[in-house]
Symmetry: C2
Subunit: 119 residues, 2 copies
C-alpha cells in the first residue's frame, strides 16, 4: 500500500484515512444519520435525498461501504444498508478523543486561571 507520493503506509493508516475521507462529505454524513436508527434500502435513501441522483446516492454508499461504515446485504431485489459505527469509534479512540480531552484540559486551565484572577 502506498500513498500518492509513493511512501509506504500501514493498512491501519489506510483504513483510518478512508474513514476520515468518507466523513469529509456532508452528504455522506447525512446518509449515515439516516441509517443511524434503522437500516434502509437504497430506494428509501434515494427518496430521502430527492435533490440527489440515484447514482450519486449509490456512489456515496460505495464510499461508505469501502470505509466499513455501511454494511450492505441483498434481500431479494432490495439492498439493505446498515450502519456500522465501529470505524467511527476507532478513529475516536485513536485520534479524536485525545484532541477533545486536550480541549477540555485547555478550558479547565483557562477557567481556573480566570477564577484565580477574579476572586
Amino acid at each position: 500500500m502506498s500513498s500518492r507520493r509513493g511512501e509506504r503506509v500501514s493498512p491501519e493508516q489506510v483504513d483510518e484515512d478512508r474513514v476520515f475521507k468518507a466523513l469529509a462529505s456532508s452528504t455522506r454524513r447525512q446518509l449515515l444519520d439516516a441509517l443511524k436508527n434503522q437500516a434502509r434500502t437504497t430506494g428509501d435513501l434515494c427518496e430521502r435525498f430527492p435533490h440527489l441522483d440515484r447514482c450519486t446516492v449509490m456512489q456515496h454508499l460505495r464510499v461508505l461501504e469501502a470505509a466499513g461504515l455501511v454494511i450492505a446485504q441483498r434481500k431479494g431485489r432490495e439492498r439493505w444498508n446498515h450502519l456500522d459505527p465501529l470505524p467511527i469509534k476507532h478513529i475516536h479512540d485513536r485520534w479524536i478523543g485525545d484532541y477533545a480531552s486536550a480541549a477540555v484540559g485547555m478550558l479547565a486551565t483557562l477557567k481556573s486561571d480566570l477564577e484565580r484572577r477574579t476572586p
Copy 2:
C-alpha cells in the same frame, strides 16, 4: 451560505464541514500531531516534512487555519502556528461521540448476548 447544489446551509454546518474536510487529509492530520505538544514555526514544520514542498505545507496550514484548527501569529520574521483543539471537540460532541457510544452500546449488547448463550 449555499452549497455546490445551491441549497441553503447554516454557518455552523459550514464550519463543521470545514473541520471534517480539513481532517480528511492525512498530511494535515500529521501536521496537527506535530503541533499537538508545542507551537512551531512554519520553517520548523517544513523540516519535519522534507518530502513536501514548502508551499504545500503552507497551503495545508491555510486550510487548517480556515477550519479554526490552527491559529497563527507572526513574531518578527517567523510565523508561529498553534493548535486549537476546540473545533475537534465540537465535532466530537455534536457528531462523533454519538456514534462512538452507539458502537459501545452495540458491543455491550453483543457481549451480553454471548454471555447469555455460553453460561
